[in-house]
Symmetry: none
Subunit: 213 residues, 4 copies
Amino acid sequence: MDSFPTSLLSGYRNFMSGRYADERERYRSLAESGQSPSTLVIACCDSRAAPEIIFDAGPGELFVIRNVANMVPPYEPDGNFHATSAALEFAVQSLKVSDIVVMGHGRCGGIRAALDPNAEPLSPGDFIGRWMGLLKPAAEQIQSNDIMTPVERQTALERISIRNSLNNLRSFPEIKALEGEGKLQLHGAWFDISTGELWIMDPATRDFIRPDV
Amino acid sequence: MDSFPTSLLSGYRNFMSGRYADERERYRSLAESGQSPSTLVIACCDSRAAPEIIFDAGPGELFVIRNVANMVPPYEPDGNFHATSAALEFAVQSLKVSDIVVMGHGRCGGIRAALDPNAEPLSPGDFIGRWMGLLKPAAEQIQSNDIMTPVERQTALERISIRNSLNNLRSFPEIKALEGEGKLQLHGAWFDISTGELWIMDPATRDFIRPDV
Amino acid sequence: MDSFPTSLLSGYRNFMSGRYADERERYRSLAESGQSPSTLVIACCDSRAAPEIIFDAGPGELFVIRNVANMVPPYEPDGNFHATSAALEFAVQSLKVSDIVVMGHGRCGGIRAALDPNAEPLSPGDFIGRWMGLLKPAAEQIQSNDIMTPVERQTALERISIRNSLNNLRSFPEIKALEGEGKLQLHGAWFDISTGELWIMDPATRDFIRPDV
Amino acid sequence: MDSFPTSLLSGYRNFMSGRYADERERYRSLAESGQSPSTLVIACCDSRAAPEIIFDAGPGELFVIRNVANMVPPYEPDGNFHATSAALEFAVQSLKVSDIVVMGHGRCGGIRAALDPNAEPLSPGDFIGRWMGLLKPAAEQIQSNDIMTPVERQTALERISIRNSLNNLRSFPEIKALEGEGKLQLHGAWFDISTGELWIMDPATRDFIRPDV
């Protein structure tokens, strides 16, 4: 018990005396009635880009998947364990969310690794290498582009990755069908850690644009 | 653009005028220097249990994996895509976190599905069924216990799942080695949505205990 | 006389100069008119869980049975001596209590003995072994669950024992009938010695829940 | 939950804000280290005679058996369920108490029933009739004494019952042996509900005497 990180315990005390105290009834009601979030956010694990902070979301509002580089693998009903596909299935089929937001962000370590031609496996299992392999064709194409700066390449792949995830979402038959019926909407967003700006993908052009704030 | 969920846009405006305004320098500095969180939290996607809220964490503090039922699969260096193992590898090998917290919570929908003997696949891919299969032996043992109430069985499996994830973390050779060297500590925690209480796993007995607040 | 425990004599003097002095009229009146408690509490002998202390009860309020692990045996009108059934009969038929509370508690030594697969008889009579045999089927089912911790198994059986006692109460024809007529209500409660918390059994789900305090 | 007696809930709140708040550390310490009471009290279920109140006892001080008329049956190692013998065995063999106090009291309903020549069974099981049968020879002898008043007969049998319980305690081989070795002492006491007086049995004469207060 003594080993539990003290910063987390201290933060938890703030939560209990602050936010929880303010929203006690909401938490209780959410516990009783169950969650019914209308939005699924697929975000990165990055410590600087928590969806609940960026969207100032209260309890019960966002169902959140977080993996490295906010990626969605393509539909692969092969019987293996699929953390992301399982969460996706749960959000869409069981919770029946109406919106899915894929949110990327600047200075993403996973994207940086994908773009590094000299990247070594981080461990013999090379899990990051395999995982970022989902972006391999795009990464190779961007890597070979030597007239963009490294920062531009990075931002470009971050946004490509978001569109890639949106494409992969549509490889799931149920998601494609629900979107076709107008019951589900897919969105892209990109968060600039430095400026705090949120760029939203225009569904028509697939460009990222800053909304008026 | 008009389709982007208005509640998220509205929340984002609160963030910009509130938290971001207050912490502008911190965000900028984190963007420049990169993230160096000391803690990885493996949490559930549930909309009522966001780690940053529960630990009142600021930007840069928590690297967060979120999947259904906060699970860690066993070490499987098989070349497939492993969202969780990839994020884990990144946190441990690249970011060199000093602590990993597996945080479960009450009323978890994934655990409920694992305990439902009549659960049907949510979709033909049955991703949730496969994913929760990680807990199958434990779930079957708990299911057969007809003298605990459904709620007691649910809580029991939620806590067993946390211990299971901790066991699986130790199946990763690098994690086991770092823990052995005293460079990495593994923790379990369970959040009660209704009361806001955080129960922390005693590393010696593996019981969950409420810390003094 | 000199042998009477001095701590008890000293405590008795406190009672006389304190509580008795304050409630002299109540004691006298209760002596004259006889007792008419509305509640029977079936509690454990444990020195840390006295019902009058936990419910801050005054004289005349609680009729109290205390045996190891707050158990009620099933209805057995066999002509033998039955301490618990006799007290039960007196409370229900003669005092006509309106409520029966079965109160268990954490860290119960009787429950611990019931869960110990290597428990030896405490004496040749093996009275505890026989008495805890009332819980034998449940204890065996919980014992075989090796994925809950010893503390979790103990808490589970403590609560199962309360439900078991409530079931056995309903095996007494008079109690079953009075409950059916709405003249008698049965309740379960579990006291946490460490935190002082009282968990109350929800009659619908049979789960134990902390009331708002 | 709504059905739980409100007077008990209200009393529990007093306990939490009062006694528990004052003795929090003691409760915690007792939970950690386990109970080690030095005294077993065998008392009546009567709502007016709670040992913890009369001896002003704190948590952890008294291990308490309560049955109708504070009786101890004779040693009967017959394999049946024996609530009182089981608790006795636990207190003596496991907790190794140094003192056993049998505490009777005035106006005891069980004793009154034992003395009533016209007493009808309270229910077809006649559990009280059987239980008070433990005192049958003594009760018959007192009943036939028509020169004592009913109150005198009642008080007499109350005290006889205490001595009877002490005799039966000595029918347990382990208790007899421990007493012989000076490791266990047996005491009798009788509480006068009306005056609050505690009468203590002189071990030499077996008379009940009021100690100086």
